[in-house]
Amino acid sequence: MQPSPILRVLNYRHLRLTTKDVNKGFYKGNRTGAMGRHTRFGGYQIEWNRVRTYVVPERLRDPEFKLTPFVGKTIHPERGRYETKAGPKDPALYLETWKMQNGKY
């Protein structure tokens, strides 16, 4: 859904599109996504394969877990060195690495 052309120019484009700016039947939502579907009779059927499941890694409780969102500022970030132009996106390099790590060379 896009606002009408007059709302896309001048000062109106700085305004947020709300449900008051459009005709009825417009559902803006809250960006959470649906977890089921509406039934014919006004109910709601939850589809469990769409319900979010959050898997928390067990390592997070481990006192030995040392990873933080930050890296020390004294550690200078380095650019990766790759042979081919594709760099880290080279599938041949991926296969080669996989073969190496399978222990057969």
Partner: protein, 271 residues
């Protein structure tokens, strides 16, 4: 209906006043002769019940806190001692290991000072995260979520209690955490696309068996050996054991969380 007791008391009262008037009259010095019943009453135009007003309508007239007069009317006080509140404080048992403590920097500490929050490094770069395994990235993502939860809690509490400074440091720290999370997503997306491309490439690779039966990877020289050399069964199994032990050694060689960024990519990627 008149109560008999009140009736008798009012009768007594009337009789009493009549007697007292008579005695008063009798005790007066008899300068003037007693008026006879035929004499006229003294003339007066004022009504007999009119009284002179000595007070105004101010109910609090004369009440002064400066002179400590106290109130005009008696207060209802009693000599009973005042009850005292009981010395009772409910004991709340708190789980020391509860997960909600993760919303705070330490147990019993509401939030960090701006100086403490301002101490942080830089964000992870995508190149550094390329060396990390899936487990590492998964755990790092959740560590970032934890950090952001803690920062959001501090911000909410700061605005609620109007504590003042510290929002700038918290938000700047939050931006760095978000940059790390962005790099994690970048690396995982890139890895998935790379896997798709490598899968297509593996279809043409004679060394790789994608059927799902048997060894996924057989090097060319092994295939040639199998073709041209006739080996004993024991030797073949020994060679297989050796290869599996080599593989296990390669897996245990480096902990993925300790791989520095400068090393070539040796992440545990499996097809």
């Amino acid at each position: 209906m008149t109560n008999p007791t009140t009736f008798t008391s009012s009768v007594r009262c009337v009789v009493h006043t009549a007697r007292s008037q008579r005695t008063l009259l009798a005790s007066r010095p008899s300068i003037f002769p007693l008026p006879t019943t035929q004499s006229a009453a003294s003339f007066s135009t004022s009504s007999p019940h009119q009284k002179r007003k000595t007070r105004d309508n101010n109910r609090l007239r004369g009440v002064s806190p400066l002179r400590r007069t106290g109130p005009r009317e008696p207060l209802s006080v009693s000599y009973d001692p005042l009850p005292k509140p009981a010395d009772y404080k409910p004991k709340i048992t708190v789980d020391k290991d509860h997960g909600l403590w993760g919303f705070f920097p330490e147990q019993g500490k509401l939030m960090n000072t701006p100086e403490e929050d301002g101490e942080y490094g830089r964000a992870w770069t995508a190149n550094e995260l390329r060396q990390k395994s899936w487990e590492d990235l998964h755990a790092l993502w959740w560590a970032c979520c934890r950090e952001r939860n803690r920062l959001a809690t501090a911000n909410a509490e700061r605005s609620r209690a109007k504590m003042g400074f510290g929002e700038y440091e918290t938000n700047a720290r939050d931006d760095v955490v978000k940059r790390t999370m962005k790099a994690i997503k970048h690396v995982l997306t890139e890895r998935y696309y790379l896997w798709e491309d490598a899968y297509e490439l593996a279809k043409q690779d004679p060394e790789i068996n994608l059927s799902g039966k048997g060894e996924a990877y057989t090097p060319l020289y092994e295939q040639q050996e199998e073709d041209f050399l006739v080996k004993e069964d024991g030797d073949v199994t020994a060679a297989k054991e050796a290869s599996t032990s080599q593989k296990a050694a390669a897996d245990n060689l480096v902990d993925p969380s300790t791989i520095p960024a400068s090393k070539p990519s040796e992440q545990a990627q499996k097809l």
